[in-house]
């Protein structure tokens, strides 16, 4: 794992992986959208509005998956002091936030015609809203300290504390009597939805994963450049300061 701690080596790896992810993203998105709109039937109860599922469910999976990734990267940074782990976590945060916003918005748009309400304070919806606040909190923590190392550690601790909410999101539909339906894909007995709906969903999940991977890689490369910029600025400021001190 520490092989990729070298920024130059990581940059080369990211440059090799990015085109593959772009192709994967383009193909799976095209296939997913085609199947979602033309290759899958309307639901026998929900009708055409079931097509919102193909954007809502992948976003929800990314929301929790990216938070898990962030927590794992944060733990790696705190325990093994891997230099790129904090950057990976930081790069994943805005991507997770975007997917969380999409999950809440599309869920609301799906709920209105199906449940007759835009929002309900039930276990699943409220815990996903808390997830959004955790993402905001994580990003705010990075900007709350002028010292990069302190900010990174504080944000990493918050990311780890927030893992508890992932468990609540997962089991909220079982612990409480919610308006939201129980799990129908990632469940012990296998998916309960028909194959004609499962394939477009799988293609859209793949597209969302490739997009998330791309954005994280790009975010990490930007973060590396930002660190280089800070170092250059500090180096530039240093001779001036010592020159003035010498004069004094």
């Amino acid at each position: 794992m520490h092989r990729f701690a070298n920024p130059a080596r990581f940059g080369r790896l990211a440059d090799r992986v990015s085109p593959v992810l772009w192709v994967l993203f383009g193909l799976s998105l095209a296939l997913g959208l085609y199947l979602a709109f033309f290759g899958s039937p309307p639901d026998y109860q929900q009708g055409q509005s079931v097509r919102i599922m193909y954007v809502h469910v992948p976003s929800a999976m990314m929301t929790t998956g990216l938070y898990g990734f962030m927590a794992l990267a944060s733990a790696t940074a705190l325990i093994w002091r891997h230099p790129l782990a904090h950057m990976a976590a930081r790069a994943a945060a805005p991507v997770g936030t975007a997917f969380c916003l999409i999950t809440l918005a599309t869920g609301s748009l799906w709920g209105r015609p199906m449940w007759g309400t835009w929002w309900e304070w039930d276990g699943r919806m409220t815990s996903v809203l808390i997830q959004l606040f955790l993402y905001f909190g994580y990003m705010a923590m990075w900007n709350a300290f002028s010292d990069r190392a302190r900010a990174a550690n504080a944000a990493a601790i918050l990311a780890l504390v927030g893992v508890g909410n992932l468990v609540i999101i997962r089991f909220s539909v079982e612990w409480w009597n919610t308006l939201h339906q129980p799990a129908s894909i990632l469940r012990a007995g296998g998916p309960t939805i028909d194959g004609s709906m499962l394939w477009p969903l799988a293609a859209m999940v793949l597209a969302a994963s490739a997009y998330a991977g791309l954005m994280i890689l790009k975010g990490m490369k930007i973060e590396l450049k930002a660190v280089r910029l800070e170092t250059l600025m500090e180096n530039q400021a240093a001779p001036t300061t010592s020159y003035r001190l010498d004069l004094g």
């Binding site: 919102i52 809502h56 805005p94 599309t106 799906w110």
Partner: protein, 56 residues
């Protein structure tokens, strides 16, 4: 008839999703461009600064 009543909800869901994801990609692109510009400006200053400090 049912498909027509649900169409705005479906269109809004996909519109918001693609809008947010495109916005995120644009934000990263602008951030990278800004950092690249700042880096180029700083690196262009570096040799001049070194020469000036050598003279001093």
């Amino acid at each position: 008839m049912e498909s027509l009543t649900h169409a705005p909800f479906i269109a809004a869901a996909y519109g918001i999703a693609f809008g947010v994801l495109a916005g995120l990609a644009l934000r990263l692109f602008l951030k990278r461009r800004k950092i690249d510009q700042d880096l180029a400006a700083l690196e262009a200053q570096q040799p001049r600064r070194r020469r000036r400090s050598d003279d001093a």
